[in-house]
């Protein structure tokens, strides 16, 4: 089954709705890497991630997660993957503890294993005191932290996050960034989309820039600067330069 060291390998991925959104996308993320996917609005970042997580069926192409063909064996791929969209997938009437219990049930983690992990996550994300309060009373940041705990409870090898910092205040954003970095330090692979270029600049090991349905550029910050034509550019300058003149 494991034919590659890649955590995520995408080849020739295509998807069209009313018009083509993704056209022949190739992307590779190595294990233990924090990869930031950037792109202008409507570039196809979310569509790409939704195809990886099995929420949208691609028209063509292949997706391998740790060597597992995600299209042929979606359940095996899902078992090692977590998805955290920009709108948290929560039940407002459940408490964080109950939500984590439900998610652990979906991933079929034995209670003896899941309950201590839930306690650790709730304490680490500063949700312990609110663990028996229904999510409907929480701020957006609190909800995002509950959803993050849900994403981490089954110890995914690949964590995929779509705009995880949207709407969070500075302290919450810091907590989420720390959580992502810690997950990577513990061996997980993280793929994240963000509009906040500073996050990609400071957090990501490698950055991919997507536009017009394909990967326009990819590499470390230095490599992207070089591709954009100047070593002294900020990521913002490089991003604008690369997305303005694709190819």
């Amino acid at each position: 089954m494991a034919m590659t060291d890649s955590a995520l390998r995408i080849r020739g991925l295509s998807k069209a709705f009313d018009k083509p959104v993704i056209t022949g996308l190739d992307l590779e993320v190595a294990g233990g890497e924090l990869y930031a996917l950037l792109g202008p609005n409507g570039a196809g970042k979310t569509t790409t991630l939704r195809m990886v997580t099995g929420l949208t069926r691609p028209d063509a192409g292949s997706i391998h997660i740790f060597g597992i063909d995600a299209l042929a064996d979606p359940l095996a791929a899902k078992a090692v993957t977590a998805w955290l969209p920009d709108e948290p997938m929560l039940y407002d009437k459940l408490t964080p503890s109950e939500y984590l219990g439900f998610v652990a049930g979906l991933w079929q983690i034995p209670p003896a294993e899941a309950a201590p992990e839930a306690e650790r996550l709730l304490k680490w994300l500063e949700l312990w005191e609110s663990r028996e309060t229904r999510c409907e009373t929480f701020s957006r940041g609190m909800k995002q932290k509950v959803a993050l705990a849900g994403a981490l409870i089954h110890r995914p090898r690949l964590l995929i996050l779509d705009e995880p910092l949207t709407g969070l205040d500075a302290a919450m954003a810091r907590a989420v960034k720390d959580a992502l970095r810690e997950a990577v330090d513990k061996g997980a692979t993280v793929v994240v989309t963000t509009h906040i270029l500073e996050v990609a600049e400071r957090l990501a090991d490698r950055i991919g820039i997507i536009g017009n349905g394909t990967l326009l550029a990819e590499g470390t910050l230095e490599e992207l600067r070089a591709k954009a034509g100047s070593d002294k550019m900020t990521l913002e300058d490089a991003f604008i330069a690369l997305t303005r003149s694709p190819g």
Partner: protein, 476 residues
């Protein structure tokens, strides 16, 4: 709208009507269905009008009492709608923050909202009544043009009553409880006429409609034959003084409500926007929330979501109260009811509807469908767990009638349990097959999403109910 002064009362009313009409807009298919129904109603109304062309319609004690009974029934339904709309305005409409932050008088906003509530209330009844009343008025009975005026007066009064009840509930029960209590009161008010009429008809030994029961009671007590009680009848028949009195009274009530409740409306809204959920003290470990199998996790989730939405749970139980007399009535006509087969039939019908309702909540009204899709579980497995959860939640209710049956016929009770389970499973499977994503709060309108599911559920449960009744009848 551009001709009106921005921010004026009329401008706000027009805004309310526009927003209301967009909220009510359905899919094209439903719209066409509604238009065809309206055309049929109007055609039927014209036929009746032509038949009544040369028949004099003169006022009298019976007609006035009939009009009063109809007005009372209409008012009860209208007040229910107005109460639910008021609850929606306070808790769920998203525009009050914007309106109240604008340099506008809160009283003006309240009056515009009241107009919106009255308009939404009157619309559904107008569509039912006017296709008959207007043709009759045109073809020889111009006095009946008083009916639209009567409807306007009733809807304005109902809007005021609905808002006053809602604000009263907020004041008495507090904003958190009022959210649920408002919905429960609305459901109770809506069902009250039906339930009271059932009681009245059972008491009288025969089965009559709610309107007829009320009419007989009013006639017996000589209410509505003259004086104030006759005003609705006189207004409907075109008496200008009666129409002016009713409409004038409604307008005065409308103005007084806007004046009297302006401040409390604002206060209620501000309270309603506060934290609406109880914050529970966090104690103990979290292990008790973790379960081994998929069914355990799914059942715990579905049960908690239902238990924490008492208004929704109440709506479901109320539907059972409506169904019970209907189911028993099906076997109750002529020659005394064969009670045991009737119980078996009712058991399957009620449990089937219940499982269907729970399955709709679990499948179509799933709050986090993406979470289930990204989980490493086959969709079929998730649906099976949801069906099992729905059946498990319905089981305690589904066992009540078979338990009663068991006192007389244990074997019949066993057959009923088996067929109740089969009917319930069938109802749940229909909901799964015809699932259409929708928010939980649209439970009451879920059949507008999939009418086929509703019809098939009824047919399937009636089928299994029939077999159960036959089995119990044969077992004896």
């Amino acid at each position: 709208m551009h001709r009106l002064r921005p921010g004026s009362f009329a401008w706000l009313v027009l805004h309310e009507l526009r927003v209301g009409s967009r909220n009510a807009r359905r899919r094209a298919r439903s719209l066409w269905f509604g238009l065809i129904l309206l055309a049929l109603f109007t055609g039927f109304g014209i036929m009746i009008a032509l038949g009544l062309r040369d028949v004099p319609i003169a006022g009298g004690p019976a007609l006035y009492t009939g009009a009063l009974a109809a007005s009372i029934l209409l008012m009860s339904f209208m007040t229910t709608q107005a109460l639910l709309r008021s609850q929606h305005t306070l808790y769920e409409s998203g525009d009050l923050d914007l309106l109240l932050s604008a340099p506008l008088e809160p009283r003006t906003i309240l009056r515009a909202k009241l107009c919106g509530i009255a308009a939404s209330v009157v619309l559904s009844f107008t569509l039912l009544v006017l296709p008959f009343a207007i043709p009759i008025a045109i073809f020889g009975h111009p006095g009946l043009f008083g009916i639209p005026l009567l409807l306007a007066a009733l809807s304005l009064t109902s809007a005021c009553l609905g808002l006053a009840i809602m604000l009263g509930v907020v004041a008495l029960a507090g904003p958190r409880a009022a959210r649920t209590l408002g919905q429960i009161l609305g459901a109770l008010l809506g069902g009250a006429v039906f339930l009271v009429s059932q009681l009245m008809s059972n008491g009288g030994g025969g089965r009559r409609s709610a309107a007829m029961s009320l009419f007989n009671w009013l006639m017996a007590h000589r209410i509505g034959t003259g004086g104030i009680g006759a005003l609705p009848g006189r207004a409907a028949l075109g008496d200008p003084l009666a129409a002016a009195l009713l409409l004038g009274g409604a307008l005065i009530l409308f103005a007084a409500t806007g004046y009297a409740f302006g401040r409390s409306f604002l206060a209620s809204y501000q309270k309603a926007r506060m934290r609406l959920s109880r914050r529970r003290a966090a104690t103990g470990p979290v292990a008790r929330h973790f379960r081994a199998g998929l069914f355990g996790s799914m059942f715990a989730k579905e049960w908690r979501l239902l238990a924490r939405d008492p208004a929704l749970a109440f709506q479901i139980v109320l539907r059972l109260i409506y169904l019970a007399p209907i189911a028993l009535a099906a076997f109750g006509r002529g020659g005394g009811p064969p009670l045991l087969p009737a119980l078996a039939f009712a058991s399957v019908l009620i449990a089937g509807q219940l499982v269907g309702s729970f399955a709709w909540l679990a499948v179509s009204a799933e709050d986090a469908p993406d979470l289930l899709t990204v989980a490493p579980i086959a969709r079929r497995q998730v649906e099976r767990a949801k069906l099992a959860s729905a059946m498990a939640m319905a089981a305690p209710f589904g066992l009540i009638l078979p338990a009663a049956l068991a006192l007389s016929s244990p074997l019949g009770a066993l057959a009923t349990v088996a067929l109740t389970a089969a009917g319930g499973a069938c109802a749940g499977l229909i909901e799964i097959k015809w699932q259409k994503p929708a928010p939980r709060k649209t439970f009451q309108r879920r059949r507008s999403g999939s009418m086929i599911a509703g019809i098939l559920t009824l047919l399937a449960t009636a089928f299994f109910g029939g077999i159960a009744a036959l089995a119990v009848f044969l077992i004896g």
